[in-house]
């Protein structure tokens, strides 16, 4: 933005130039807010799922539908820290998702949040030492390419209906 105004020295001091500079600053600020919250989404969503999965594996599956067994199962679920942390992550994820949707198009947010697939692959590979097949890495690369292409379009193309 500064470069744009530097290349037009006369424009920076005119009323139109100031208005343009303010609107570009606003667009830049709102885009960075969208990127930041999208980043939160792609971290919190997979993290919540991983924690829920870990908690449920610790608890194990329910062996019968006797009322005593069900109560025992539910009390184990309620006593799992991993499950509560997973639920908390997913609740914050959903709140962040709604905020992002108030600032950006759904057709922008949905594909951009697919970076989460890459995040899961990276977390699995580097933290849990999981083997990732070449086909999966190719998929992750293609997703990143797609997100890059979508990310180059304006996040919001509609006016608020409110």
């Amino acid at each position: 933005m500064a470069g744009f105004l530097r290349s037009r020295p006369g424009l920076a001091h005119t009323r139109e130039g100031i208005r343009l500079s303010q609107s570009m600053k606003k667009t830049f600020a709102s885009s960075s807010k969208v990127y930041l919250f999208l980043l939160l989404m792609v971290i919190l969503g997979p993290l919540g799922n991983v924690l829920l999965g870990k908690g449920m594996r610790q608890v194990g599956s329910i062996s019968s539908w006797d009322s005593a067994e069900v109560i025992h199962f539910l009390s184990q679920v309620a006593g799992s820290v991993a499950i509560w942390l997973g639920i908390l992550c997913l609740m914050v994820f959903f709140a962040v998702y709604m905020l992002v949707l108030s600032w950006a198009d759904y057709s922008y947010v949905q594909p951009a949040s697919a970076v989460a697939y890459g995040m899961v692959a990276l977390l699995g590979h580097f933290l849990l030492g999981e083997a990732i097949t070449p086909m999966r890495w190719t998929g992750v690369l293609i997703i990143c390419l797609g997100v890059l292409v979508v990310g180059n379009t304006p996040p919001r193309t509609t006016e608020s209906r409110g």
Binding site: L101, Y106, P111, T133, I142, V150
Partner: protein
């Protein structure tokens, strides 16, 4: 096979349709400008008064339970890659239902994401 097709349709249409309804709610509520806790609570109150939000949550629940049912009928390696179709359906819904401008560049991006998600999920085996 008929049941499988119905459940697959429900996963894609109801799941994505639910998200589209949530997006419509947020479009109606308007951009959140104040992120302080009190303002966020007021925002949640406005969101919960919207019929679209409740329809969205209902559809998302239908999509989720259809996915669970489908997983009990078919292999994960078949079911899950099909969910990549949601990205194409989502862009279409954004254009037709939310009146978003889905440019050619955005379509190309969505198509790449669809292919990528499909490969990731197939490569998971």
């Amino acid at each position: 096979m008929k049941n499988e097709i119905i459940f697959l349709l429900l996963i894609v249409v109801a799941g994505t349709g639910g998200e589209l309804c949530v997006a419509r709610t947020m479009q109606a509520v308007g951009p959140a400008t104040d992120l302080r806790p009190a303002a966020l609570v007021r925002l949640i109150g406005r969101v919960l008064r919207s019929g679209w939000m409740w329809l969205g949550l209902l559809l998302m629940a239908v999509g989720f339970f259809s996915l669970l049912e489908m997983l009990s009928l078919e292999n994960v390696s078949f079911v899950v890659p099909v969910t990549a179709l949601s990205y194409g359906f989502g862009a279409l819904g954004g254009k037709l239902f939310l009146r978003e401008q889905v440019t050619r560049r955005r379509w190309v991006g969505v198509l790449l994401v669809c292919v990528g998600v499909g490969l990731v999920l197939i490569g998971q085996r």
